[in-house]
């Protein structure tokens, strides 16, 4: 499309801030009310539309498994490291024992940990794909999440698959103390390795992405995308308000705010994420011979040898 139309289309995207309200585990075949525009939506329709309200484009929370399926080419996702899970190394029990939080998270989600990873095809490109699930102890990063993320980076490097990670997190998992803080260093080290191996890495920031998780592997990606209205930052808004004793500017820490401040590449509606990621992968990976192997200055299409 001509660039002017593209801008018009972009203007036309109706962004709404995703609310903290859960889309809830409702049984199939029920009607849901959009918290933003109050329209009543049939669950099946919502599912079909990757949990984006067809009336106002409100983005409902999308759980990790549904998320990877929404991005992967149909039937191509194969989970890895599905049994890796948390222990309670500090025997942490302030207020509520950590083991209880873990048990109820597993019950609620049917997941072993807060992140799902696996191999998949995306737009025909072999990728390693991962997604975090906010229902699981706030998708906070402890030892197990850190290890799964680090292994996803290692797998992407070993098989030279592009890495696509969908982020949501409250931050480092405080119930594992310093072990959690060190996962920031560990996952950043893994991201640095992948970067030096020149394997493309795309992160997609979703609502909410905060704290020690934001300040590690997600923002080290080659391309950083974010969903409309997602809240993203390091320090949470309440803590900042307490520090500065003022209310925060409107739209503070939204995906659009970060785009304005030059911190992310683009705000992309969920319905366009898979095609956007695929297009990026077309440029950064694909059938071309890797640069390092040829010593050439530029990527050369393998099939044509350069002349089209």
């Amino acid at each position: 499309m001509p660039i002017s139309d593209w801008f018009k289309a972009r203007e036309g995207r109706r962004y709404t801030v995703a609310s903290a309200e859960k889309s809830a585990d409702l049984p199939d075949g029920v009607w849901l009310k959009c918290p933003s525009c109050k329209h009543t939506i049939y669950q099946g329709v919502l599912e079909e539309n990757v949990y984006v309200c067809p009336h106002c484009a409100h983005h409902f929370e999308l759980y990790a498994h549904a998320r990877v399926l929404s991005l992967a080419d149909e039937g191509t996702f194969e989970e890895t490291e599905s049994t890796l899970s948390s222990l309670d190394p500090l025997r942490f029990s302030a207020n509520k024992p950590y083991t209880e939080s873990l048990a109820s998270a597993k019950d609620k989600t049917g997941m072993a940990e807060a992140v799902v990873t696996g191999r998949a095809l995306l737009g025909g490109h072999p990728v390693v794909l991962g997604a975090m699930d906010f229902r699981f102890v706030g998708a906070s990063m402890g030892s197990a999440v850190g290890e799964k993320i680090a292994r996803a980076f290692a797998l992407a490097e070993a098989e030279r698959r592009g890495l696509v990670l969908v982020i949501a997190s409250g931050g480092a998992r405080m119930q594992e103390g310093m072990l959690s803080l060190m996962q920031m260093a560990k996952t950043s080290a893994a991201a640095e390795r992948l970067s030096r191996a020149r394997v493309p890495y795309i992160s997609i920031l979703t609502n909410p992405t905060y704290g020690g998780v934001t300040a590690s592997f997600p923002v080290l990606a080659d391309i950083i995308l974010a969903e409309p209205g997602a809240l993203i930052g390091f320090t949470g808004p309440r803590v900042i308000e307490q520090t500065i004793r003022q209310s925060l500017p409107k739209g503070f820490q939204t995906a659009e705010f970060l785009e304005e401040h030059g911190m992310i590449d683009e705000v992309v509606p969920r319905t366009e994420l898979a095609s956007t990621v695929a297009r990026v992968l077309d440029y950064l990976s694909g059938p071309e011979v890797p640069l390092a192997a040829t010593g050439a200055a530029c990527r050369v299409p393998a099939s044509t040898g350069g002349d089209e």
């Binding site: 890796l84 302030a94 405080m174 560990k186 080290a189 030096r196 590690s216 923002v219 520090t243």
Partner: protein, 320 residues
């Protein structure tokens, strides 16, 4: 500065004040209180030992935050010669909450980086009490990369409550600045020795706070979250920080137990502020020992070992 009294020291300070009073009385009235004074002195000595020998984690946090505790600039002054300070991140500004400079420690030419708390209220306002903005962390990163370029080992002094929690810090990418430092530190091709001298608050500390060695002062702490913030999240009551300080396993001893820190430097009874020069000497010995060991190593092997060390951190289960 009037003597700063930590909460748990109160009984000791009360006794010390009583002793002073007795001594004054003794001199003024010639009351022959010699025996009582001696007894009181013995009692004080006893209490001092019991009070300081087994500090609780929360008490250590108070020692780590003691206003008289030696700070980065004190270590630079005591350990370093021929210092050339580096300023600015070449992108936005200079953040005084971070010190960076070329310096010589007992013949070792290094890049020294540290959180810089102020010594007066005025300094602390300028330096945000040692809580860096992104530009401070980016200055640190610039210093790291310069160290790598010219083959200088990096020595860092960690002492911050955390990265600054403000609107502008967020606008300029606090999370981005931290993450970039973590990535840079993880692959830097020169030795990195980090010393925890006081507070180790979360990401703002980690952004200059790990490497090939982590040396902790006995009463320094390092934590994923401050005990107060943890208590307000879990109990909706920051007053329960003494409990969360224990749960979070944030003391030097805990860190060695978790395989994160390598070495603990003992502090004088009561804390580093009681005898700073002894602490400077011990820190200098430890830093030199680490540098001597690390500086002769092959750069590839050094980076590989650092990566493996980081990769090994974590406790988790695998299998059904």
């Amino acid at each position: 500065m009037a003597q700063f009294v930590m909460e748990f020291e109160r009984p000791l300070v009360d006794l010390e004040e009583k002793l002073q009073e007795l001594k004054r009385l003794d001199l003024a009235a010639d009351l022959e209180l010699g025996e009582e004074i001696k007894e009181l002195e013995a009692e004080i000595e006893q209490l001092r030992v019991t009070l300081y020998q087994a500090l609780s984690p929360w008490e250590r946090v108070q020692v780590a935050r003691h206003p008289g505790r030696p700070k980065t600039q004190d270590y630079v002054e005591a350990l370093c010669s021929e210092v050339v300070e580096l300023n600015g991140d070449r992108l936005y500004g200079d953040d005084e909450a971070i010190f960076a400079g070329l310096a010589t420690i007992a013949g070792h030419r290094c890049m020294v980086i540290g959180h810089r708390k102020g010594k007066s209220t005025k300094e602390n306002i300028r330096r945000n009490f040692g809580s860096p903005h992104p530009e401070g962390l980016r200055k640190a990163r610039r210093a790291m990369l310069m160290a790598e370029k010219f083959g200088l080992p990096v020595v860092t002094f960690v002492d911050t409550q955390g990265a600054y929690p403000g609107v502008e810090a967020e606008e300029r990418g606090q999370a981005w600045a931290i993450a970039e430092n973590l990535a840079t530190l993880s692959a830097l091709r020169v030795p990195i020795v980090a010393v925890g001298i006081g507070e180790g608050g979360s990401g703002g500390a980690l952004a200059i706070g790990f490497g090939d060695r982590l040396i902790m002062l006995e009463n320094a702490y390092y934590s994923v979250i401050s005990p107060e913030a943890c208590a307000s999240i879990l109990y909706k009551d920051a007053g329960r920080a003494p409990e969360t300080a224990s749960c979070l396993r944030m003391t030097a001893e805990d860190l060695v137990g978790l395989g994160i820190a390598d070495e603990i430097i003992a502090e004088p009874l009561g804390g580093a502020h009681r005898d700073p020069s002894a602490v400077f000497a011990a820190v200098e010995r430890a830093v030199i020992a680490a540098l001597s060991e690390l500086c002769v190593q092959d750069a590839d092997a050094l980076v590989e070992r650092r990566f493996e060390r980081l990769s090994a951190i974590g406790v988790y289960a695998e299998g059904e």
